[in-house]
Symmetry: C2
Subunit: 512 residues, 2 copies
């Protein structure tokens, strides 16, 4: 077999069975091997940022790594922004990058670049295959590194001649990763802490699942401690019947009072809250001075098991009931509020929401606690352009669940190519574009940074109208059927219709 075939066998042996790819010349042997080694699904993306974001989405919903295949340094460069998000979400990803053949690296060819330097910007594990025989073992090491725990973006760089040369070696099967529960003395200590005045339990990482939240609810009820959720998590379970502790607010002026009374913070797979950006005269840490921190579970430990161990002694508490929401039928202009009501009323059970609505997120998502039980995937690393690719990966990872992408019109423009992959793979994704024709978040941030004022030239850099983006045509150009909704009723009708059918659809929701 070739080195490339050894690579594919090693991937498949370790259940890495999906590869989001945008290959070039140095990856042709990998592509050819797709027909020689069974079990690896290649998913073509027309831009590398779709590959990296889709791998992030896949990992968020399955807990397992997908592979990506990118072309040389610049191809990897195009994938970095969403690899950054995957890194911050602790998503396991096996990133494979083709390199020039070793002989060719000696000449300064046009596409020659320092690929490990590109890789290290987002990855702590970077491995360059040393021979054709090394490709399989190196792949196994990369998979093990990706698994963690916690998950990480692990990079494998393969010179083309090692892909095309013969080898007898394939990489071994890796033992599945184990997250250990923290020791019992930690649990006892935390149990005491939580009964003190000003105690709060901060959930992060993998603990905001249905199971983890249920345990946290019981702990909170019995101990009297507040339960709160970290901002930057990969996936949160919510909806009717589920415990819905509040997330730490985004802006410091809300986060600081939110956390002001916390004297003891117990973290579960979470880091102490910090603000997204720094501002003049505002602290970066959101915790009050003197607040003590106790770690119940680190990012590499099983926080859910820790919560369940803590909860065992406690009684279950009743679940707060949400009034069912009725979808609005008004013919008045669409607002964030009416959009939230439609989503709350019409969201299919067990849906997965990829959320990158930026300035609109808080107002819309606030309604979804009353929706059918579902999970949502918030922004993790803050690099714009994750929403549509994460939806691609989620739909491929969970083909039996409806995926909803809630996407800003500005943020959607970083990786619109994802729509084409939705069309090609007939993915069950309903994309809602929240079209306000502004980088609205920058209106807010402009004020907050004290930059004072939007003169006409500054305003031009924030206004993304003139010309308006026509998301319906854009989507149709990429193969996904689309409609436009400008009133509450139109949005309700179109969203109902879109979730009823299987397959991709897009709604441009024009906000007043």
């Amino acid at each position: 077999m070739t080195g490339a075939e050894s690579l594919l066998r090693t991937l498949v042996r370790n259940r890495v069975d999906t590869c989001f790819m945008n290959p070039g010349t140095s990856e042709m042997h990998f592509v050819a091997a797709l027909d020689r080694v069974a079990g690896l699904r290649g998913v073509l993306c027309l831009f590398e940022g779709v590959c990296s974001g889709a791998a992030d989405g896949y990992a968020r919903v399955t807990g397992r790594p997908a592979a990506t295949l990118l072309h040389l340094g610049p191809g990897l460069g195009n994938g970095l922004a969403n690899f950054h998000n995957a890194r911050k979400a602790r998503s396991p990803v096996v990133s494979i990058v083709g390199e020039h053949s070793t002989a060719h690296l000696k000449v300064d060819a046009p596409l020659t670049a320092d690929i490990p330097a590109f890789a290290r910007t987002v990855a702590d594990f970077v491995r360059v295959a040393a021979s054709a025989d090394d490709v399989g073992p190196a792949a196994a090491e990369t998979i093990a590194a990706a698994w963690g725990p916690p998950g990480q973006v692990a990079m494998l760089i393969i010179p083309a001649d090692y892909s095309w040369s013969k080898t007898e070696m394939a990489g071994p099967a890796i033992a599945p990763p184990v997250r250990r529960a923290p020791p019992s003395d930690v649990i006892d200590r935390v149990a005491r802490r939580l009964r003190q005045e000003g105690a709060a339990l901060l959930l992060g990482g993998t603990t905001v699942s249905a199971r983890g939240l249920e345990a946290a609810r019981r702990i909170g009820t019995a101990s009297g401690a507040r339960v709160i959720v970290a901002r930057n998590v990969a996936r949160i379970a919510t909806g009717r019947g589920r415990f819905q502790p509040p997330q730490v607010p985004y802006f410091p002026e809300f986060a600081l009072p939110f956390l002001a009374s916390v004297k003891h913070l117990v973290t579960v797979e979470a880091d102490a809250p910090v603000s997204f950006f720094g501002y003049p005269d505002t602290p970066s840490s959101m915790l009050p001075e003197g607040c003590k921190i106790t770690v119940l579970a680190r990012r590499d430990e099983d926080g859910t098991a820790a919560l369940e161990a803590l909860a065992e002694a406690h009684m279950a508490a009743p679940v707060a009931e949400h009034e069912p929401v009725t979808a609005p039928e008004e013919t008045s202009a669409l607002t964030l509020e009416s959009m939230g009501r439609t989503l709350a009323a019409c969201l299919p059970e067990n849906a997965l929401i990829s959320e990158e609505a930026i300035s609109a997120a808080a107002k819309v998502m606030g309604w979804l606690g009353a929706a059918a039980p579902h999970e949502f995937m918030p922004v993790a690393g803050g690099s714009i352009g994750q929403g549509l690719p994460v939806a691609v990966g989620a739909a491929i990872g969970c083909p039996d669940r409806k995926v909803i992408a809630l996407e800003g019109d500005g943020s959607g423009m970083y990786t619109p190519q994802a729509l084409w992959t939705m069309a090609r793979e007939k993915l069950d994704v309903v994309t809602v574009i929240l079209a306000n024709r502004r980088y609205r978040i920058l209106d807010v941030e402009m004020r907050r940074t004290g930059a004072q004022g939007l003169g006409p030239r500054a305003n031009d850099m924030i206004d993304i109208g003139r010309p308006d983006l026509d998301w319906v045509r854009l989507s149709e150009g990429l193969g996904v059927g689309a409609t436009r909704a400008a009133t509450a009723r139109e949005f309700t009708e179109q969203f109902r219709e879109a979730v009823k059918r299987k397959g991709p659809a897009l709604i441009e929701a024009v906000l007043e």
Copy 2:
């Protein structure tokens, strides 16, 4: 003034008067300063790769740097692929990247990343501002580094608090860069070399201008030496009445015989030819064994002055006459040949062509020697996605010249957001999408790498039909009016019409 205002003043003082930008929170003070410091034109791009490619195009046509303004590490990540191309084209670019405030860098915020590490992947000059007082001087140093010679991508990273803090310091005006002609003994030595059997003159860098080519024609005619052109140059003058020496072919099987008889290669702002990729059983250097190399001018020297000094002693020779080409009017399916004939017949004089037609380039561009005098900008670094952004930058740099983007349907999908900036800025760009619905170059490369065969699953990774991209809707969605041509006559009619009007237009040329 603020640090941001000091930065703008330093840019404007040094004639850096255009900034392609996609700002975020950490760059708000820069944006606000656009209304306080006169003379800097902000051009908004909806994706960072458009900013970096536009700066490359601007530098290629004006010889001066533009600035780019990007947001933190991931924003810079999205710009890297086209910065790579700019680096290989030796384009001067002043790349400004906002960083978190220094206080905020101490906490691990979601968007925190190692920005200098991102920067070093494409830049040899990376400067981090050390205080508000340092912003202006650091900007001046960055501009000087960008200028070279040769030009380079120079990076300036500015923590947000240095942008918003007060300062009295602005950076100095930089002395314009000087390219020196090589010493006269080098010129004498080369003159002797060129009269020997097997001598060839390889033109690169800035020498393939109208002036440089004219000098090279006279040298070639008088000395009998072959004149050839390097592949990876920023901009080539060509068309009727101009000397049109052949470029070194792309594929090794053509480049090797093309260069087989060369015994003495004289390089002028050029490097010895190497193949783009390495292949099994094929050398990476394209020169025959034993070939001697003499450098007439390095990349930092004035190769055109050197050529003119060499040419002085020689007589002028007659220019080869090109038969004028007639535009095809057949109703048969559009082919690369008929497209080339239309372009040759209808290209406006002094046009600038941004060429990223990849597999179709050779067949189409071959016709353009018979077109009206013009210049074209080929792929320089090989990173896909430069064509449309380079056209944006060229149109802003040279508003009085018609810009034509010849773009593959596959390559166009990496940075389609450039069309929106064309619409917003009403740029005089006619984009021609060569739609063959394949990554056709990969068909060729698949064979050449010996990867043998396109099974159905491998084929799926190269076929970008299913669904077909509809470039007309895509373009209209981004604000640029578009038409589709499937016959030779349709293409001729649509191209004639598009170049007649001022402003952006797109033609999807469906190739049989």
